[in-house]
Amino acid sequence: MTTILTGGIGKTAVADAVRRLAPAGVEVVVSNDMDAVALLQAGRADYFLGTCQTGAGASLGVLVGLMGSATCHTFGRSVPSEDEIGALLDQGKRVFGFAVDQIDAIAPALVVAIASRD
């Protein structure tokens, strides 16, 4: 079972987008940055999808500082290709931030890529 946490201002919208896809073996929990740190570090969750107006720092909050930039990636307002997402997951990125007005474009792509890893 892969657990995806969502956070930031669009966290319910992202969770809804994941549930609509309902990929097998993936569960989604609405969370926030501070709780996500504890859950990710304890191995009780696998990925974090954060959102804010700009798709950068505020989407990840304290995660950037505590998980380190090696596990964090922010798309900003750009929409990544399937290959880019695959490459980022290969690099071990687990914490992703994107803009709240790009949820429809980015969240499904990320979730499909994450689900296909298991």
Binding site: L5, G7, G8, I9, G10, K11, T12, A15, V29, V30, S31, N32, D33, M34, D35, A36, V37, A38, L39, A42, R44, A45, C52, Q53, T54, G55, A56, G57, A58, S59, L60, G61, V62, L63, V64, G65, L66, S69, G76, R77, V79, A99, V100, D101, Q102, A105
Partner: protein, 460 residues
């Protein structure tokens, strides 16, 4: 026209004291950004840790700051200032973030910041009168934004409650706010009708959040024997995993950051004094809806609106500051309402300095308190999300009204068309900024069409 339409004639006529305050404050904010002690953009702040610790370069951080701020300067800050005649933090402090980070030398940062302050106070006035002299005056048209922004903004607590606590409580809050708006209009016609409604809405949200946290803590205490109960809110399932120990990396990072900020307390006190003074001079509106209230001289309402708004931002600003070691340029935004209400500039200087001192000293404690109140942190995220949602509709609708005021059906065709085109192209321009930007383009196009004798300006 209703009383909510602005009575601003030209605006942006600053006295010497006001000009000096803006220039000096911009110099100071750029200096603090240069030292990575404070940035205004909440999205940039988390990246400041890598910069402080030397893992990224100044130019890379500047690029991040520019990329995250540009849309809000031109899409939110500039149109808002031009239409309301009142300055705002997006126009003043996002550019000083960028300029301060950009400056390679310490002494250059305040010079660049001060220069930007000068450009704003002198240049904006020029641009303003120039635009008013055009055959198709799009600045007067932009004042159409006031009513939708003021009234839809009042609904943000309802949206936040719905998202966090479901349809029933959300619907209930909506009915309560509607009743209060109607009541206020009837009984106190001079008060901005959205202010009491917003107050009650925010109090309801906080009440629900605190009640949920208390309930969950009791449930957790009762469940010491067995496994963690999986029922309850979604946030609770996540929070239950938090280890109780304090010696975690979060506490140590937070401690280091708080200590770094405390070391520069005098500088922050000067900053607080400056921001509070700017608010007291009544040429500056801190929140998205406040500029229009300040422009109309409704300072008590402006103070209320910004106070409730602060509740959505305090947790974000506190946690990002603790995680990065860089504070917010306007602190917890609490100096805004205090500044609007204070009777004298000298008092504003003193109070602003004291408020910032308390904020910086209490930062560590606030971080710990927020760690224990997950629902309150959730509420603040929902509040900020709801502010974005209400503003999106308000700015879109206000922009179309502005386009209509300028050019009737043709105006709506051009402005609405540009907005839809941006949507279809995958939102090249930030959603929030797209509509005002479309109005400005429409204004230019209509002026060109008028010059080609293809369009007759609509008489108002």
């Amino acid at each position: 026209m209703s009383s909510t339409v602005l009575a601003v004639s030209t605006g942006l006529d600053f006295t010497f004291a006001q000009q000096l305050t803006v220039v000096v404050l911009c110099a100071l904010t750029a200096f603090l950004a240069h030292l990575a002690l404070a940035v205004f953009n909440d999205g940039v702040r988390p990246f400041m840790l890598d910069f402080v610790q030397g893992r990224t370069t100044r130019s890379a951080t500047t690029a991040v700051s520019f990329g995250l701020s540009a849309g809000f300067i031109f899409g939110l800050g500039a149109p808002m200032a031009l239409s309301s005649g009142v300055l705002n933090p997006w126009l003043l402090f996002l550019p000083t973030d960028i300029l301060g980070l950009l400056a390679p030398k310490k002494w250059l940062a305040p010079l660049l910041g001060g220069a930007w302050g000068g450009v704003v106070v002198f240049g904006l006035n020029r641009a303003n009168s120039l635009a008013h002299d055009l055959p198709v005056d799009f600045l007067t048209a932009l004042q159409q934004m006031a009513t939708p922004i003021l009234f839809l903004f009042a609904l943000f607590p309802v949206l936040a409650i719905t998202k966090q606590f479901g349809r029933l409580l959300g619907g209930l809050a909506g009915v309560v706010e509607l009743a209060l708006v109607v009541l206020t209009m009837k009984v106190w016609p001079d008060v901005f009708a959205g202010a009491p409604a917003m107050a009650v809405g925010v109090l309801l949200l906080i009440g629900f959040a605190v009640a949920r946290d208390v309930r969950q803590r009791r449930a957790a205490e009762r469940a010491v024997v067995g496994a963690v109960p999986s029922a309850g809110g979604e946030a609770s399932t996540a929070t239950a995993g938090r280890p109780p120990g304090d010696a975690d990396p979060m506490a140590s990072l937070f401690g280091t950051s708080a200590a770094r900020l405390r070391r520069h307390l005098p500088l922050f006190m000067v900053l607080g004094a400056g921001v509070c003074l700017l608010c007291q001079l009544h040429v500056f509106g801190g929140g998205e809806a406040t500029s229009f209230l300040v422009a109309k001289g409704q300072y008590a309402e402006a103070a209320q609106v910004d106070f409730y708004r602060a509740l959505g931002f305090i947790p974000l600003i506190a946690t990002t500051a603790l995680a990065s070691g860089a504070y917010g340029i306007v602190g917890f935004t609490l100096v805004y309402p205090i500044g609007y209400l204070l009777p004298s500039p000298w008092l504003a200087l003193v109070c602003g300095a004291l408020v910032f001192a308390v904020e910086v000293l209490a930062l560590s404690w606030i971080g710990k308190a927020l760690g224990r109140l997950p629902s309150v942190r959730d509420a603040s995220e929902h509040l900020r999300g709801a502010i974005g949602d209400t503003l999106h509709l308000a700015i879109l609708f206000g922009s179309l009204m502005a386009a209509h005021a300028m050019g009737g059906g043709l105006g709506i065709f051009i402005a609405g068309g540009l907005y839809l085109l941006n949507e279809a192209m995958g939102r090249v321009v930030v959603r929030m900024a797209a509509a005002p930007a479309a109005v400005v383009v429409t204004g230019i196009v209509l002026n060109v069409l008028h010059w080609l004798h293809l369009f007759t300006p609509i008489k108002t």
